[in-house]
Symmetry: C2
Subunit: 540 residues, 2 copies
């Protein structure tokens, strides 16, 4: 008997809509188009192939691939073999990948041909996918072996995981410091997170989901299962190329995609950008969208849905739920509201924002967590438990214990709760700028600076200041058409932006320094790496 297992969504889709297009992979030499019927057969073959290869219930299977059918297959097929999917970030280095393979104890790796160099030190069997979908491709041969091994026993021949709290995935966080940590999530949690994502973003049978977010990132925020649950169609692209994205926005009936603000900025600023023929829901996470980005998206017929989450919460578990009153607001006011993290998803337990231990004080495991007041001012830490909180850090009881002080998972994100109950992230503790005893939020400063007409993207970090302790330093990418305008006059632009800041924010928050840059350091998932900016600042 199976209760809450995201694999059930695939079997339903294959049963109810076998002829519906499930997945397409168009920008390769031999594009593929699989219906739910065909795709589920391929996934079944994968499950049998894994079992034949010796994979036992609970074993980890590592996947290294860009967005492509193989990694989509694996989100279902690995679970069908009662194994745990361990997707690995393709932008890691060989030592990092080796560490994860070692630490996860993965018994097998399936790797895309472009990333085989990452597993050259692997001590376990490696299956290579050439991403062709054709005979002769080692991955296809692997599926073939599975099919033969199945001896036509079909889905009925695959034993269903009896425990809904068994692990579904092991995702390593792309920690900016220290060793990556392995996040264990469950079948039940993946099922419930997928349900919430489908419902909260209104994905249905008619939806077409375009993959922009890497699927290796927190299992694509559970969208591989949410899309299937909705009987929707998904399009995979190996790379994120704004021209290609616009081709699909304009020609493929795309209705949904997920991406961090930085990617969204490149989308709205692409030369191909125009009104989309079908309304699109853009799911934004990673950081809050600015008013400018929201306005630019809406102008093109793209509705931003701002969600918030972490790998440890199955990706998104909060949403800035729109209010009817927002319709009458100015774009700026609306953006200010939409930029908040909001409330928990349908299937998540209510989020809490709790007082943090004072500086230097060791957190007391036994101490009860106390909520901050709903005053929009008092900062606390976002904590969560229940359906959409991870189980543990794999093979790291000490880190797990620390993360679950007081019985809640501690996000490390600092937030306030507004009088209307909406949670709004101020900053990660280390991103707060303490200037003359005042706490300045780098997020709020960025929101304001992004409104300047020449600013494409901006990131703000603290820089030591002899008088104030710290002061804000802004790193700015100029818009394409503004680059020439300020050519050789970056000093003047600095003055211009500082003047722009005055009156928009308190003096202690105004940037003391502005540097124009060509690009900002980002993680593979599009998050700006402030840790790198801070290192640059430290050397100034």
């Amino acid at each position: 008997m199976y209760f809450q297992n995201p694999l059930s969504f695939l079997l339903r889709a294959a049963q109810i809509y076998p002829d519906k297009l499930a997945i397409t992979h168009p920008h390769v030499k031999h594009p593929v188009f699989y219906t739910y019927g065909v795709w589920s057969q391929r996934i079944q073959n994968l499950a049998y192939a894994l079992i034949e290869a010796g994979i036992k219930p609970g074993d980890r299977v590592a996947i290294i691939a860009p967005n492509s059918p193989m990694i989509a297959d694996a989100h279902h097929g690995v679970l069908a073999a009662r194994a745990v999917i361990c997707p690995i970030n393709t932008r890691l280095t060989v030592p990092e990948v080796s560490y994860i393979l070692e630490h996860s104890g993965a018994k097998l790796v399936i790797v895309d041909y472009e990333y085989t160099h990452l597993v050259r030190d692997a001590k376990v069997p490696v299956v290579v996918s050439n991403d062709t979908g054709r005979a002769g491709d080692p991955y296809e041969d692997f599926l073939d072996r599975g099919r033969r091994f199945s001896r036509e026993r079909g889905w009925a021949g695959l034993e269903w995981e009896p425990n809904e709290n068994a692990a579904s995935a092991l995702c390593y966080t792309s920690g900016t410091t220290g060793r990556p940590k392995g996040v264990i999530t469950t079948l039940r949690g993946s099922y419930l997170a997928a349900l919430a994502n489908a419902y909260e973003t209104r994905m249905t049978y008619d939806s077409v989901y375009l993959w922009i977010l890497p699927m290796f990132h927190a299992c694509g925020w559970t969208f591989p299962w949410a899309i299937t649950l909705a009987f929707a169609t998904q399009i995979t692209l190996r790379t994120v190329d704004p021209s290609q994205l616009w081709y699909h926005f304009l020609n493929s009936g795309v209705s949904h995609y997920c991406a961090a603000p930085t990617v969204q900025i490149s989308i709205v600023n692409a030369p191909e950008a125009k009104q989309v023929p079908r309304p699109i829901t853009a799911i934004i996470a990673g950081s809050a969208p600015t008013a400018r980005l929201i306005g630019d998206l809406e102008l093109k017929g793209i509705t931003p849905v701002h969600v918030y989450g972490l790998t440890c919460t199955y990706g998104p578990f909060m949403k800035s739920f729109p209010q009817p009153t927002w319709k009458d607001m100015s774009l700026k006011d609306r953006a200010r509201h939409l930029a908040r993290q909001g409330h928990s998803f349908l299937t998540a337990s209510p989020v809490r924002v709790v007082y943090q231990p004072a500086d230097g004080e060791e957190p007391d495991a036994a101490a009860e967590l106390v909520d901050v007041p709903k005053d929009g001012k008092t900062a606390g830490e976002i904590v969560v438990r229940g359906n959409l909180a991870m189980v543990e850090y794999f093979r790291d009881p000490e880190a797990t214990r620390k993360a679950f002080q007081g019985g809640y998972f501690h996000s490390g994100d600092v937030a306030v709760v507004h009088p209307d109950g909406y949670v709004a992230i101020r900053d990660r503790s280390k991103d707060i700028i303490i200037s003359g005893g005042e706490n300045a939020s780098s997020v709020l400063i960025e929101q304001e600076l992004a409104a300047h007409p020449d600013v494409l993207e901006v990131s703000v970090v603290a820089r030591p200041h002899p008088k104030w302790g710290e002061r804000a330093m802004a790193f700015v990418i100029l818009k394409t058409h503004s680059v020439a305008k300020w050519q050789g006059r970056h000093d003047e632009f600095e003055g211009e932006l500082k003047r722009f800041s005055k009156g928009r924010m308190p003096g202690f928050a105004c940037p003391e320094w502005v540097r124009v840059v060509d690009e900002l350091p980002k993680t593979s998932t599009g998050k700006i790496q402030k840790v790198v900016l801070r290192k640059m600042v430290a050397k100034l």
Copy 2:
């Protein structure tokens, strides 16, 4: 910590959309309109009042009421007191109600003023609601006591049920024979069923749900929770009056309602019926809609969604999932497809149709259930287990054991599985007409006869026949405008309908007898009581 508890939906709604209209009760002397903020406060008061009245976790609280705010409150408030809601059909007799009160062991009854006679023998405290929402109403006084007893502890002062598998409801089936049986369902199951109902019927923030289905029937198919989950608005009406329904279809922005086909027939035939200003989703269950009904609904802008379920499956757990190809079909063909029961809901385990033991053979508890082939012909029994199957018949281990032969709940409904995997009910075993060794389905005969232009509603049962063993007898209600046409000529109409049958169905299925009647015997939930028709036939 709470995991899967439908009460969580109310708390979310009150937190995220406190000012949204949650529930209105317009057709009473003092209409009420409660926002989610106000409503959740009333429900909190109810929970405290129950606790003050001595209700302990797991206790049953009986509710006897027409659709009204009180019974809607109770679906949340009783759960908030960690008690079990036991809604009782208002159309039962005093001995039946007494039996249920006794058998359920209810510790308290909340009863609507119109039904106080039903609890005159009650041996437990009774709270009467005058359905006024005003001071002086005993129910309002009860809520007031709860508020005072709470001493402003709020929701935080109410202990949350820690076990998601604790009972949420005890619903007695309106058995046509024998004592009613009490169906125990769980918090988790109610949560998942509500999720599925909201998703499968596309209920969202913008939806307005009109109560037609009695809320006392299988907890209103979990819609009290599904509506709240979606942040939708609900309208309660004490009675089902087509004119009143049409007033709301035309003026209140109604988007969803649930009703059995008989009620739907009265809706489309009401003199007020016309094109609705906003598309409406009509959720149909109880029996399959006929082609005529589907056509009549669609003409008015009402889209039928055909679902199937039982009290033992939290109400609907299957849906006839529409296929894109249906759009090009004739109404009759489309109706034939939509009339099937289809596939399991999102959160339900896949349904099975299994061979039944041969006549007179005792079912073997240990024997494995075997699926019938997908040939559209071989009849078997619909069985189900998992998330959306009840736990047990309360205080009846023998009936529970019988119902769960082979580990699955046995629905008693006989069905076939079509080659496309859609399940279609043929008949309950006792509704099959065995004529000259052939099995004729009364459902299929009814579908055909309903196509006759003078037929408003029809029900078919077996009647003993000297030559063929059994033969079909049809009971027909004529359409209003056809009554005069056939006045005094029912014999001629019988001939007309028998001629109409020829060619439309095999000879052994054609009705041998036709009787024109003014009304058909129905259960309180609109199901035709074939058992009563069979008794009439037995006396002929």
